[in-house]
């Protein structure tokens, strides 16, 4: 039996996912919440970026189901020991990608290693040459002949599979839409293809098809080649990039999740109660805000390093240690970033406090707690939502910088920041080792771009100031 491992960030991620699902179920019956969301999803760019974000989230969630494999049972006691390595559902899915480790660097789609080695031939003589990869281009001959043909064949196969899957998807979606709207599926298909439906299904399906194409390409190619090359210790860069998605998402989402309750509480309290409460809250956030963010994070992480180093026995596996550090990083980032939201909420509640309906509620003798939860909180939620979405991309980018400075995630953890950090010195090589850097930047860029486009749409839909225009 495998032993499930629930890391701290895992539980928080699934808590967050549950909250989001609960919110969606709740919002379905509330027209005033649905209207702005409909506006978000009526945009083509926003819909496409949501699809891409969801793909990232799916990989992140799969990578958050952790477990440990049992070792061969100890015969005498019958007690089962578990491997020190913590795997995830994603590892199980990608299978050979994780285990097909070469010796060192190799370029994307390479047949041979990047560096020369002394190879002993069968007759005992020795030559300096590039050794053949152990797993890369495995199905081909020793010299890697016929590689182009093989790659093209696999690509064509992937395209064919995508077309098939795409058509099936189109049929399924139009049948589903047809049933919902009580119309024949055929007219729905036409509507999708002409792009005349209120929700841009054509764009959504095209984005999905693009993702499917990438998926099929990965399935067909990644098993036989190192599509994005291998890194210094021979690990597949594509696999590392996939594993880094979770780290990026955790930093981007958990940071806000952790600081959210605190920011909402203090912000509304300061704005609503005014007086000395307001002074105290303002003092606290001005003080925290005055410390340059990187330095506060650096100071806190340095202290955490000392703590971890002196209490090494608290952590069963290295993954758990890295996880605590990740969680702590989220908390610290949360501490430095709650100030902005708190200030916004304070201003908003100060304004709302004077609104007539709140004054009326006060006159009717409604308790303060009820006024806050019933009248003020729902009316500042758009500020919260916009901040959360806007912060996400900045946090993902910040992770890379912090890892470079040395106060980011644990060096053993897969993250884009660590990938960049490990690869940037290799730019001095001749010829250049560019693939790790490019892979990390590409994944990061797509995630951040999608998040930025999505957050713009959310802001436009929810911000009353932009709505008026």
């Amino acid at each position: 039996m495998i032993k499930p491992v629930i890391l701290w960030t895992d539980s928080l991620i699934f808590l967050l996912a549950a909250v989001v699902v609960a919110f969606i179920l709740y919002a379905r019956s509330k027209p005033h919440i649905r209207t702005p969301w409909k506006r978000v999803f009526s945009g083509r760019i926003a819909s496409a970026s949501v699809v891409i974000l969801l793909a990232f989230v799916l990989v992140g969630l799969l990578d958050s189901l952790h477990y440990r494999l049992p070792l061969a049972a100890n015969g005498s006691t019958g007690e089962i020991h578990y491997a020190g390595e913590v795997l995830s559902a994603l590892d199980a899915l990608v299978g050979p990608l994780r285990t097909q480790v070469e010796k060192t660097y190799s370029a994307p789609f390479a047949t041979h290693l990047f560096t020369m080695e002394t190879i002993e031939l069968e007759d005992g003589s020795k030559v300096r040459d590039y050794p053949r990869l152990l797993y890369g281009a495995r199905g081909l001959g020793v010299a890697g002949e016929g590689r182009a043909g093989d790659i093209i064949k696999r690509c064509l196969l992937a395209v064919a599979e995508t077309l098939l899957a795409g058509v099936l998807l189109l049929i399924a979606v139009s049948a589903w839409l047809g049933r919902r709207h009580g119309q024949p599926a055929g007219s729905m298909t036409r509507g999708i293809l002409q792009g005349i439906l209120p929700i841009p299904w054509r764009t959504i399906l095209l984005t999905l098809a693009l993702l499917l194409l990438l998926l099929f390409l990965a399935i067909n190619l990644a098993g036989a080649y190192h599509v994005l090359g291998t890194d210094k210790v021979g690990q597949d860069v594509f696999y590392l990039s996939l594993k880094s998605i979770r780290t990026g998402l955790v930093i981007g989402t958990l940071t806000t999740l952790i600081m959210l309750p605190f920011a909402i509480f203090t912000g509304i309290l300061a704005g609503y109660a005014r007086g000395w409460t307001d002074d105290v809250v303002q003092y606290v956030y001005t003080t925290l805000n005055s410390i340059p963010g990187v330095l506060l994070i650096a100071a806190a992480i340095l202290m955490l390093q000392v703590f971890i180093a002196t209490h090494a026995d608290y952590f069963e596996t290295t993954v758990e240690r890295a996880d605590i550090r990740l969680l702590f990083l989220c908390i610290i980032l949360g501490i430095t970033s709650w100030t902005g939201l708190c200030r916004l909420l304070r201003g908003e509640s100060l304004k709302l406090r004077e609104a007539e309906y709140i004054q009326a509620a006060v006159c009717f003798g409604v308790a303060h707690g009820k006024i806050i939860t019933r009248h003020i909180l729902p009316n500042v939620m758009h500020v919260v939502l916009i901040t959360v979405v806007l912060d996400f991309s900045g946090l993902v980018l910040a992770e890379a910088v912090l890892s470079y400075v040395g106060v980011g995630v644990d060096p053993t953890m897969n993250s884009w920041g660590n990938m960049i950090n490990g690869a940037r010195l290799e730019m001095a090589r001749e010829p250049v080792v560019w693939w790790s850097l490019l892979a990390a930047f590409l994944f990061m860029f797509i995630l951040v771009l999608a998040a930025n486009l999505f957050s713009d749409a959310v802001r436009d839909a929810f911000d009353p100031r932009t709505r008026a225009r």
Partner: protein
Amino acid sequence: MFAYIVRRLAYAIPILIGINLLTFYLFFVVNSPDDMARMHLGIKRVTPEAIEGWKASHGYDKPLLVNTGVTGIHKLTDTIFFEKSLKLFVFDFGSSDDGRDISFDIGQRMLPSLAIAVPSLIIGLLVNITFALLMAFFRGTYVDLSGVVLCVVLMSISAMFYIIGGQYLLAKLFRLVPISGFDSGLNALKFIVLPVVIGVVSGIGAGSRWYRTFFLEEAGKDYVRTARAKGLAESLVLFRHILRNALIPIVTGVVSLLPLLFMGSLLLESFFAVPGLGSYTIDGIQNQDFAIVRVMVFLGSVLYIIGLIMVDIAYTLVDPRIRLT
């Protein structure tokens, strides 16, 4: 005005005290000096004598808050809190964990930081305003739309990619400038060019999109409509009316950044091996030099607060409608 500045400075004192207490707590209470010593000397097989020796040589061997071993005023002054934290207020930074005088180092490293930061700021400001004006002039057209899309794309690229890509392209491939390094006097010029270019380019996306909103906000106001109604050319409206009024938030925003320029840019300086305060901070963090990090936290906060006060003053200077009382 003068009374206002004095009052603002007085407000800054409790904030600085708060920061001081926070750093003291982080650096000396969360982890004791013993932990720090162990961190530096290696975790395993470290003798208590070695720890005591390390603490004594770095001045961490005193009690935290109250020294009961001595009498009189020394009860309070002969402590870590007084020696390491309170002395920051008079800018007595002491020495770093490897024994160098921090104040001297900071003085040495301030100029290279400014040499990168000031040109980046000025050129970046000009470039961003130009792009933003261009987008505002063509607002609602495809020029504007594609400009905004381009800004979002530029924003989504990590700053590290700009640096690594720029170093590779301009320095390695085209060999226009040295990859990294620094020199004194005018010789520094060729080392400054690349960081400044990269600093400017990496800021274009966020900067010009942000400034564009200022311009568009002004463009929707009544006085602009009046200006158009009386027959002014669109370019005149843009430069004489919109630009001047939109500059108020832009200038004040920049003013708040001015003091922090001394701190330099962490990434640029460390990638280009510029001996400035940014790389000093990074080195401090990476060598786990707690003294340097502590000093930089304090210095950064002081500069930030000065920036806030300068913004308020700048507002009154640029915008005659605002009076400070």
